[in-house]
Symmetry: C2
Subunit: 225 residues, 2 copies
Amino acid sequence: MDSFKHINSDNPNSLSLRVFKEIEDMILNGEIQPGENLIESKLSSQLGVSRTPVREAVRMLERTGLVQIVPNKGAVVLGIDDQDLEDIYTIRMLIEGLASRWAAERMTEEQIRELGEIIDLQEFYTMKNSTEHINHLDSQFHEKIFEYCNSRPLQHTLSDLHHMIKRYRKISVGSTGRADKAIAEHRQIFEALAEHNPDTAEKLTIEHIANAKENLLKIIREKRN
Amino acid sequence: MDSFKHINSDNPNSLSLRVFKEIEDMILNGEIQPGENLIESKLSSQLGVSRTPVREAVRMLERTGLVQIVPNKGAVVLGIDDQDLEDIYTIRMLIEGLASRWAAERMTEEQIRELGEIIDLQEFYTMKNSTEHINHLDSQFHEKIFEYCNSRPLQHTLSDLHHMIKRYRKISVGSTGRADKAIAEHRQIFEALAEHNPDTAEKLTIEHIANAKENLLKIIREKRN
DNA sequence: GTTTTTATGATTGTATACAATTATACATTA
DNA sequence: TAATGTATAATTGTATACAATCATAAAAAC
């Protein structure tokens, strides 16, 4: 049953992957706006590569939900509206709740130690007000949990959801007073995990994401006015 | 904000798509076994097309989770073990439960009528013992619900999950006495949806999928012995 | 003046050629 | 013999050329 295991693909950068990331950045930074068409020939000359890796990159972008491909017509950049965003967070509540539940059941002592270190770092950088680090560690905390829950299907599902909200995460934690609260919540979740208490871990995680959702929606509404 | 809407891509069959389906079938039918490598040149000569559409098809297969691509090395067919299968069904319980909840809230009268017709057909073909039709309608019932819940993120998530278990669905409903029970459950879910009763619809859907899961695991264990 | 047709250009889809990488078998050395 | 290096073959990655499809605008028909 060796063939069933995942091989840890160590990201040996291919051109397609580089192009994928470059186009993704352009979209995330607003250089390319929702509604615009991605034209393979333009992108390829712009990036100095042939059309083939661009094509593959566009296919990867479709997979992340950033783009929709219409056969024989091309790829158009998709936006997401408020309803979509709310739905994504509601789904995340359920799925990440489940992830915490399973992590609480399945985590090893070594993994608990590792997660503890992340929390310590988070508290450190929050005191220092280093937004850059805070955002990165926030992502890392969530990613570690769904690594430790040790379920390929769940990881797959969650990674899709996280891709969808990549555009918004940067504003979610930054700027407001949410960072302090978020970390206090992380600490609580961590303790439930460390005690192998699935019910509490799940409940706290759901609340945590519900709070993040409210905060994000609030910020977005403010930005619009 | 026109650009945000999905264009109903009416499947204008491209070669890549045809090739995708052919390879998918080969894997689903066991012609290509988990652990085997997909070799582009072989497949292209075997199917009488060039390597380009084969490459694109393999990328699509990776997206459905049937295959894993290791850069510079190729694509290997993935299997899923019992734990994966259980996890998928647990996730499905949550997600389809949510789909039913939202469908109950958002469904139109016209959609209720349509869904009712599917149920009627299901009952008809179950009396006739037409396994072919039963399986198809079972899929259709679930797909209609997450079409009617009208949430793109949820649809995306669920369609991934359904792809993952495509290999198993054919044996799930067939052969056993499960079909009768399944349809009775569908009927109950339908009534909750028609009454716009989210709580009941969600609860019944979760139970329904839990039952399907037990049934599937039982069948698989029997087949192994 | 409006609609339909037709021609042209732009863009995507597919095939093929070549480059880069990886796997395999054999030889070499300790 | 085991380990390491090297040559060759197999395979994937990328570039380019051509075919098919679609979008646009001018011309023709009404």
